[in-house]
Symmetry: C2
Subunit: 102 residues, 2 copies
């Protein structure tokens, strides 16, 4: 199992808008080859911190999706004002992991 994690930090007043964007997402990724699950985590200690975690059967499936048109379309749907505050405060661009134990 392969994990992709993006950690976002944004002004607290924009968090509800970001979470709404996730709840109304296009679900294009759900049909991607090797896609398992996407979760959005909201910190209960740092109100402006939101983490997006996606699961993939293999690293190859993840990298293929990242190069796909669907991925471009998904990002294009995010409102420009929201996109700009996320970009400014982004802590970590992207981290990837193998699940090695349970």
């Amino acid at each position: 199992m392969y994990i992709s994690m993006s950690r976002l930090l944004l002004p607290e007043e924009h968090v509800a808008e970001l979470l709404d964007a996730f709840k109304n997402r296009a679900h294009l990724v759900d049909g991607a080859e090797g896609f398992v699950e996407l979760e959005v985590w909201h910190s209960d200690r740092e109100p402006g911190e939101v983490i997006m975690v996606s699961r993939w059967g293999t690293k190859a499936a993840f990298t293929a999706y990242m190069k796909s048109a669907d991925h471009q379309v998904s990002h294009g749907r995010i409102a420009p004002t929201l996109q700009s505050v996320i970009k400014l405060d982004r802590l970590d661009h992207l981290h990837t992991y193998e699940v090695v134990a349970r």
Copy 2:
């Protein structure tokens, strides 16, 4: 669903020992009230980075476990030499989240 995440950074030569410790863990947490799952993630870009993610039905279940004797026993089983290199290089102590969207 409530998430607890600990991000560890340690010298690369100690990673195999840490992962073995997880694979041979006592599984005391598995019986805790409200415990859902524990996963260990190993970065494929930063070889010394290991993340421990546990899932709980509620925040209350997680905080109750953290105060329990079982939690103390689990940590006591980690070899002192391994414990010392983890402590020195720990990036983030503990982060907690609510799963807010899928």
